[in-house]
């Protein structure tokens, strides 16, 4: 693992008792690093209790936003040069400001609606690197920070352009801390699904839109002008976001009967996420109003309290149904809407959870 990843937090070279000493006695930067290492390594070892010991030492007060933006200057080294810290004036660079504002809005979104204090719920600093590599057509969360490419200008424009991309990437961080969904097959597609849900809800929250007003698009405006498509994905109508002579068409299914079995894309994690995405959209529209208030709350509590590393679609559906019952009452309108939403995509809730081999 250490040879494959360039980030030291995933390499456990320093024994944990020394990390604990640093977490107690080091300077602010050392404490943060040590705490992060302890957090990641203890989670991977399944020793969650260690977290409570150090939570007191390392928690940043709720409501304290800490953003740091770096510029890779089209190189490969992360994080790159520090270009804007929390509270610093606007940069002349649009990407820098978009990463700064977008991560700030994501922080506000999670705090205001779910009382969540940053990615780890302990006030973790939100680090972003822009201008990563040359013509790089991607954005990702590397376990510690967000990384954004400029796009090649022919297929994609810069990846900070669409705020739901920023919410999507930061939510991968939330999922990493809370559910650790394995990034393969159905659990991987759920990992993608939760990132699309909260990425879209972030955009709706910023625009103060109702479920009916929202476009439910992921990555709207990211395509270069020559590409025939409005976005990368549509939660409202999976499979319709683009249809271009060069790129082909949006491959997302909207129903279990069209579930795609593939070895590429980590088992179709960005493809089959269309199925739960559509279910969420149906739930949100059926409930009406602002989607983050009820549908979003049900999905958030499911991610935090229920989802396990290998949860599959049917299990996730059952969990959202259970959570809706806990939050709003058994037989409530919310719980009925959840059941109906999953039924539309061919996932019956309440049916036995037995599943065919290979469905995970």
């Amino acid at each position: 693992m250490c040879r494959q990843l360039s980030h030291s937090a995933l390499c456990f070279i320093i024994p944990s008792h020394i990390q604990e000493q640093i977490a107690r006695n080091g300077n602010a930067k050392q404490r943060e690093n040590a705490f992060q290492n302890l957090t990641v390594s203890s989670r991977l070892r399944g020793q969650r209790e260690i977290l409570t010991t150090f939570a007191v030492l390392a928690t940043t007060p709720t409501g304290t936003k800490r953003r740091t933006i770096y510029d890779a200057k089209n190189g490969m080294t992360l994080p790159g040069k520090l270009v804007r810290g929390e509270g610093a004036p606007k940069s002349a660079d649009t990407s820098v400001n978009e990463a700064y504002d977008g991560s700030g809005k994501t922080y506000d979104f999670y705090l205001n609606n779910f009382q969540r204090n940053s990615i780890d719920d302990r006030g973790m600093r939100l680090d972003s690197t822009v201008h990563y590599r040359k013509n790089f057509n991607n954005a990702f969360w590397n376990g510690q920070q967000m990384v954004y490419g400029d796009g090649d200008g022919q297929i994609f424009q810069r990846f900070t352009k669409s705020i739901d991309v920023i919410g999507h990437e930061l939510t991968h961080g939330v999922t990493q801390y809370e559910a650790a969904l394995v990034y393969q097959d159905q659990p991987g597609a759920l990992n993608e699904h939760f990132s699309d849900v909260f990425g879209s809800l972030l955009k709706q929250f910023v625009k103060q839109q109702t479920a009916k007003q929202a476009d439910w698009l992921i990555g709207e405006g990211l395509f270069a002008p020559a590409i025939q498509g409005v976005a990368l994905r549509s939660m409202k109508a999976p499979g319709t976001a683009y249809n271009d002579p060069l790129l082909g068409r949006d491959p997302q299914p909207a129903h279990m009967k069209n579930f795609v079995k593939t070895t590429s894309d980590s088992g179709g994690v960005h493809i089959n996420s269309g199925i739960p995405n559509k279910a969420f959209y149906e739930v949100a529209v059926a409930l009406g109003g602002k989607a983050w208030e009820r549908a979003g709350k049900i999905w958030y509590r499911t991610l935090i309290d229920k989802i396990q590393p290998l949860t599959n679609f049917a299990e996730c559906a059952g969990m959202t149904y259970e959570v809706a019952g806990t939050l709003y009452g058994q037989g409530s309108a919310e719980q009925k809407a959840v059941k109906a939403g999953w039924a539309i995509v061919g996932i019956p809730v309440g049916a036995p959870l037995a599943k065919a081999a290979g469905e995970r």
Binding site: N138, W141, Q154, L222, G248, S264, D265, I271
Partner: protein, 102 residues
């Protein structure tokens, strides 16, 4: 040198694949490919090398050169910087080839 290139995944998951042949490339590009392969040493790479990173680009690349063939499955963040440079170059070539066909 012949290269079978496939890319999937990434936030966008716009798949890209092409069969490339250095004999069909502009001479300067063919030279560039040769240099990048020499630096990235794909024949010495493990056949599978993946990082557990969401939205990581996923590559499957088969290179045939001087009577040897090698397939590597690698995710972008798991690749060395030199291999990343080769993958970026192959992605550009694959896209150019598609564009010429479209």
């Amino acid at each position: 040198m012949r290269v079978k290139f496939e890319r999937s995944g990434g936030f966008a998951n716009v798949p890209l694949s092409a069969d490339l042949d250095s004999a069909e490339m502009a001479p300067a590009r063919a030279e560039e490919l040769k240099r990048l392969v020499e630096e990235a040493r794909p024949f010495d790479q493990p056949s599978t090398s993946k990082a557990n990173v969401p939205d990581d680009l996923q590559y499957q690349v088969t290179i045939e050169h001087a009577g040897e063939a090698k397939t590597i499955n690698v995710s972008d963040t798991a690749a060395s910087d030199k291999l990343k440079s080769l993958l970026d170059f192959l992605g550009e070539e694959a896209l150019n080839k598609l564009r010429n066909k479209a």
